[in-house]
Symmetry: C2
Subunit: 348 residues, 2 copies
């Protein structure tokens, strides 16, 4: 592969995350010679905006990756399962936003601010973590380094854009229907999301947790590289368009005062501390939308345990939670010259 003529493909270019990936590549002046938009046959021939012009969407096939150096996948787990191995076979490094490869032992699961060194052992597919997990670990890592995290209790307040464009449309449509005295229709979610909270994200598992909750528990351990960190989660969809919020209760081995935690987080990469309650300053979804950083505030000591902290963590779920993290991974791969693939048949 030649950096001078780097070809990047966005797979699932017409989706909410795909569009954000294109926007992020553009904004960050990603060093690509060519950016290609791929999607299913249904979307082939349509266009997506890029750099003031448009890209014509090409149909995704097993042969799409012959001259592609990096493919950013965001087209669902099924598409990733089917096509990522073919991309790798063709010599293309895949950064995959689906959950398909995240817990696969052959694939590093990377948040550049947290575990960039895991990129060194990739085999062609690097997994992008779940959106709720990414912003949580960005906030947890500096605290773990400073005081060793033992346990985290997290409750989430997740935006509908995490589900995709259809869910954005559904929230808007339901609100309009209600304001026009019509019965709101639920199609994307099993129940009405307008002016409601749904304690249900992704499918339910046997032990009563949702898959989203399981992801936050398992992915955190893999990313942080420390199986001693225990996480329990309740994930909830709220009627917000953009920006996931999270209420975190964190127990550490060593004592961190709120002031110390604030100081540690203020120095951390990718984190902005917004924590001045007197001035009514704290992180909010509407402020995080469109921003790259993870915002942390409401930092205060939990008086019920010896070494505990409560905090409120907000980030743009489409950017840091998906598109931006994937592009950052791609940037790291280039900067560290990690685009070589050892065994191209590893996933076939």
């Amino acid at each position: 592969m030649s950096k001078e003529r780097l070809v990047v493909a966005v797979v699932g270019a017409t989706g909410a995350v795909g569009r954000e990936m294109l926007k992020t590549l553009e904004e960050r002046e990603f060093p690509a010679y060519e950016v290609r938009a791929l999607a299913s046959a249904r979307s082939a021939g349509t266009t997506v905006p890029f750099k003031g012009g448009e890209l014509t969407v090409q149909e995704l096939t097993e042969d799409s990756f012959g001259d592609v150096d990096i493919a950013l996948f965001s087209a669902g787990g099924g598409t990733s399962a089917k096509f990522a191995p073919h991309a790798v076979k063709a010599g293309c490094v895949v950064v995959d936003n689906s959950s398909q490869w995240r817990m696969d032992e052959r694939c590093p699961l990377v948040v550049p601010e947290v575990n960039p060194d895991d990129l060194k052992w990739h085999n062609g597919i690097i997994a992008n973590p779940n959106c709720s997990t990414i912003q949580m670990v960005v906030a947890l890592k500096p605290l773990h380094d400073a005081a060793t995290i033992r346990r985290v209790v997290v409750s989430t307040y997740q935006a509908v854009s995490g589900t995709g464009q259809k869910a954005i449309d559904e929230l808007e449509t339901q609100v309009r229907q209600m304001f026009n005295l019509q019965e709101p229709e639920a199609k994307v979610y099993p129940h009405r999301i307008a002016f409601n909270c749904l304690p249900h994200i992704d499918v339910f598992l046997e032990d009563g947790y949702t898959k989203e909750e399981r992801k936050m528990i398992e992915e955190t351990v893999k990313i942080m590289g420390d199986a001693s960190i225990k996480v329990t989660a309740t994930t909830v969809r709220v009627p917000v368009f953009y920006g996931h919020s999270e209420s975190l209760n964190v127990e550490t081995e060593k004592k961190l005062t709120a002031a110390q935690a604030r100081a540690v987080l203020s120095q951390a990469p990718g984190v902005t501390v917004l924590d001045n309650p007197e001035e009514k300053i704290y992180p909010m979804a509407i402020d995080a939308a469109g921003e790259d950083d993870t915002f942390v505030g409401r930092i205060r000591e939990d008086h019920t345990i010896e070494n505990g902290l409560n905090m409120w963590v907000v980030a743009d779920n489409l950017r840091k939670g998906a598109a931006l993290n994937a592009v950052q991974v791609a940037e790291e791969l280039i900067d560290r010259s990690l685009l070589d693939i050892g065994d191209p048949d590893k996933f076939l």
Copy 2:
């Protein structure tokens, strides 16, 4: 006082909770000979609906309580501080929905399903707990009896109606403004609530907690009558009109499996268990609105500690969280013949 000719006054009858109190008295066929609506001079002369007709609102003064047996106050802490002592002086028992008397040692803080016996030692004023606290203790009490609760980590998802009618109007207005491409105005809350989450309810205290969070911590101990129960809270306003939701993480002394917790809660007064994830059945604000019970679901074992449970608790914040609980307290006072006041000067 004579039960046959019981006079009940609703103080703050024009507010969101006051109107709900009137509705609750009506629906439960409360044994009142007369129901009187009181409010500030500003509202005097207006009417409020009651039993198919209307009540004309009378001005609240220090002399309003001469022939009143029970007064349900919901007109803010200042009004309760000023007028409740005069009501007691006149021989009227006060059930107060404000935070004014809750932590006062002279006043029991009562949720009838949890600590009805505390009514026995009242001195004329019985405090109604904070809305978020009420639904939480209704769900916690049966678990505490079964397995002894040590620690609770709660994150709330609170409806705007908890703030009052003005906040209900503000959410609606902001949504309409946004859908008409106008800039949404924030008047009641410091920031936009439409399609946003505000980690800020009531004022901030010195240690970084809000007063709402402090209430959940302190009131729980007082109601449960057990200072060993440790609670930490993060309280959050969400763009929902009616119904508070809560994510609870509960640590107990004895082990309770999810099935055992479900069985215990199914038998508990005022609780309905809605916990069938396979059928997508769990508590939601839109279902709880207009209902009397506290709904509990998503009950599952927390694998990060030896004896832990996660659960999702939802109730109508205006009903069980305020009006209904106050009316239930009044009913208990009548049933137990506890309307006598020992020292009428106790609060003056």
